[in-house]
């Protein structure tokens, strides 16, 4: 009979170490012995759960249409951008395709343009005629120095979501509000101390004074920005200063705005204030409506939406906030196949309709907008067809120019906004200081390695 040359009795130190060694050998075989799946493998990294769920349902269809192609979806959640940064720095381990969030893309554009870790997709987009089929201003957050490093997942137009019942109770018909001056007049009527205790019980609007989100949306609406198309710092322009003066006046002069409850608009505290009737309106991108529906379903039927008040009659009634792109990394070994996956997940009409169904996100592909779903009444908004409003506003989206210094700039912009609203600095001082800091930062870098 066959016997092993060693047994548990003669093994050094006894049974325990022998079992550990056997387990070690088995797990090593399991880890390194796993063969790659046959066929062509593509890796696709995602950071958002809703996107991951959408692609999980859609990718098997692509794989069935393309036998031999395996698309591996990996959802890293919030840590994905750091992992991608590490993979690009080490020039090893990056996926073929990846989704990047709008506030994170700047850091990937640092350095010489040919060192950026993403493939320039402009040649493919232009040769296949996709540029005309998508909202062209939506490429600006993903473009730098003439190259397009990503394709927009969304448009994220912004509307003014308001409590029709409470505004009406204050004698205001919000559908008649067309400009910010109209809104201030309406807001003064609606911001009220209901119980006479000397404290305001309901505010016309909730705005975030901790971060750039609301201020920057207002600035974009006017056609302003932090950087211009050439990369110059323009955050101390008269337009930017006037916008911050207007923003601070909503809190301090007109007293119709309340700071966001909690740390951001999606904070449970903010939702609680909404349910208490303390907040009468909010600047809401399409994705935020999706969050409201899932987090405060009990408010169904209480909200209505109009385009944002314009800065002047017949002015732009929307802006944009947030966003995601899909990019192809330079480590991708089969760009043609990756491009096919990209087109399937981003340009396929049934998929985009399905995306709207689950997330309320309006797609950038214009040909998808005629799908009936976008005109269906929205129960959450008392039957108002919200999709139709978003689509009506979408062609007028302002550009948002991207820059490698956006992360540093946004961090300092948060401080500047807070300083202005809390009256530690005037808006002019806050933005002038900010612009000087960012210009000094850029000048220091350029002094070290020359203009890139």
């Amino acid at each position: 009979m066959f016997r092993l040359p060693i047994d548990s009795e003669s093994f050094p130190l006894g049974k325990g170490p022998m079992v550990m060694l056997i387990l070690f050998l088995i797990s090593t075989l399991f880890i390194f012995g796993r063969s790659e799946e046959d066929g062509e493998n593509l890796e696709f990294w995602i950071f958002a759960n809703t996107h991951y769920e959408e692609y999980q349902a859609r990718v098997p269809i692509f794989e069935a249409q393309n036998p031999g192609v395996n698309v591996q979806l990996i959802n890293f959640g919030g840590t994905m951008h750091d992992k991608l940064l590490a993979a690009m720095l080490s020039n090893f381990g990056a996926p073929d395709l990846v989704e990047v969030e709008i506030t994170s893309i700047g850091r990937f554009l640092k350095g010489a343009i040919d060192e950026v870790g993403f493939v320039d997709l402009r040649p493919r987009l232009e040769s296949e005629g996709w540029m005309e089929k998508l909202v062209v201003s939506r490429f600006t957050p993903w473009s730098y120095r003439g190259k397009i490093f990503g394709i927009p997942h969304d448009l994220h137009p912004v509307v003014l979501l308001y409590r029709d019942d409470l505004f009406k109770a204050a004698g205001v018909e919000m559908t008649e509000v067309e400009t910010w001056d109209d809104f201030i007049a309406a807001g003064k009527k609606a911001t009220r101390d209901l119980d006479g205790d000397g404290e305001v019980d309901q505010y016309a609007i909730v705005l975030d004074r901790r971060t750039e989100s609301d201020y920057f949306s207002l600035l974009l609406q006017q056609g302003g920005g932090f950087f211009d198309e050439e990369g110059n710092v323009i955050i101390d322009s008269e337009l930017a200063i006037e916008t911050l003066e207007f923003f601070t006046a909503l809190f301090n002069e007109h007293k119709i705005a309340t700071p966001v409850y909690g740390t951001w608009h999606g904070d449970p505290s903010n939702f609680a204030a909404m349910q208490d009737g303390k907040i009468l309106s909010i600047l809401a991108p399409d994705w935020y409506v999706g969050i409201l529906k899932s987090q405060v379903p009990q408010m169904s039927g209480k909200w209505k939406a109009i385009g944002m008040p314009a800065w002047h009659p017949d002015g732009r009634r929307t802006t944009t906030r947030g966003g995601t792109m899909i990019g192809m990394t330079k480590q991708c070994e089969n760009p043609d196949r990756a491009w096919e996956v990209l087109k399937f997940t981003y340009f396929d009409r049934p998929g985009l309709v399905n995306r709207y169904e689950t997330t309320r996100i309006i797609p950038p592909l214009k040909s998808a907008w005629d799908a009936p779903i976008f005109r269906e009444p929205d129960v959450y908004l008392g039957g108002q067809p919200l999709g139709a409003l978003f689509i009506e506003l979408a062609p007028d989206l302002p550009p948002r120019y991207q820059n490698p210094y956006w992360s540093e700039g946004a961090d300092l912009l948060n401080d500047a906004i807070f300083a202005a609203v809390t009256e530690k600095q005037t808006p002019r001082e806050a933005l002038t200081d900010l612009a000087e800091k960012v210009r000094a930062l850029i000048a220091k870098d350029q002094g070290r390695w020359g203009k890139l």
Partner: protein, 299 residues
């Protein structure tokens, strides 16, 4: 005869080599995971990244920039605020809890020990998420239940309340953990010392000052140094609780600023510089603490 000689030589060699082979895995892992990154980060602090592929030598430029950086100083102040809050609030509470649990008058000691220790088993990320709700301006436990404040305090919205909120959260999470060290120290104090003090007419307070505290000195020194190091490395709690240090960097700490520079701003050289400055701060404070607590003193 020849074969026997060869075997002997092999055995002799093996005896010489074996110890090195036994300790080799540690040194190998140390060089790969500690030695190389340490030297690499020190070198990195003398460079600045230029995109993903190349870097520029800047000498001590990152260090001079850092000492002129107001956000670094603000982060340092916040970190020091937390460290002082930890030492003056958390450790006395931990010691008080340990004394209570060590007394014979308290019932259900095992349950209480577990209850006070349990928060440390919760990951920092979850603690931050839970306390985000606790400090909630409208519906949070603190504002909603503690009516003595009489108004909705924006714990995480107003600059002056941010660090106190972080410190109180730290107390909840770590006081029970430090209590265990103090408890072990208290249980190691010989009963005869208290009996001798009682014979000399010492009351409870005098026994505490002249017996308990001196006997606990090594434990106190250990807890002080470890808590100080932990405080200076504070990151996850304020990062999640204050959404990255907002408002106006009121919740920013040194390690958070390091993270932002390294991963959000892609300034790896500057981040490495912050790391090394933090290392020196920790080293100096730890040595001073140990010196003041008399750990280097000959008994």
């Amino acid at each position: 005869m020849r074969k026997k000689q060869t075997t002997y030589r092999f055995w002799n060699q093996q005896q010489k080599i074996a110890p090195y082979l036994f300790i080799a895995p540690f040194y190998l892992l140390f060089v790969i995971f500690m030695g190389y990154p340490l030297i690499s980060s020190l070198l990195m602090s003398l460079y600045e990244m230029r995109g993903f592929q190349s870097r520029i030598f800047v000498g001590i430029g990152n260090f001079t920039d850092l000492f002129r950086d107001p956000i670094f100083w603000k982060s340092l102040r916040n970190t020091a605020y937390f460290a002082v809050g930890t030492l003056t609030l958390q450790l006395p509470i931990a010691l008080l809890l340990a004394i209570l649990l060590n007394s014979k008058f308290v019932k259900g000691k095992n349950f209480l020990r577990l209850a006070f220790f349990a928060p440390v088993l919760v990951a920092g990320v979850f603690v931050a998420i839970i306390f985000n709700l606790v400090y909630d301006q409208r519906a949070g436990l603190v504002n909603h239940e503690f009516v003595l404040f009489g108004k909705e305090i924006g714990w995480l919205n107003e600059e002056k309340y941010v660090m106190p909120a972080v410190i109180l959260t730290g107390v909840w999470q770590w006081a029970g953990f430090n209590m265990i060290y103090f408890l072990a120290g208290l249980q190691g104090i010989r009963q005869e010392l208290y009996e001798a003090a009682a014979v000399d007419g010492a009351n409870w307070w005098q026994a505490f000052i002249h017996v308990t505290l001196p006997s606990l000195r090594p434990v106190i020194a250990f807890v002080f140094v470890v808590s100080m190091i932990g405080s200076l490395q504070l990151f996850d709690l304020p990062f999640i609780l204050t959404n990255g240090g907002e408002p106006a960097d009121a919740g920013s700490t040194i390690v958070m600023y390091l993270y932002k520079n390294g991963f959000q701003f892609m300034r790896l050289g500057y981040a490495a510089t912050i790391g090394w400055v933090l290392f020196f701060i920790i080293a100096v404070i730890s040595i001073v603490q140990l010196k003041l607590l008399g750990i280097f003193r000959d008994e």
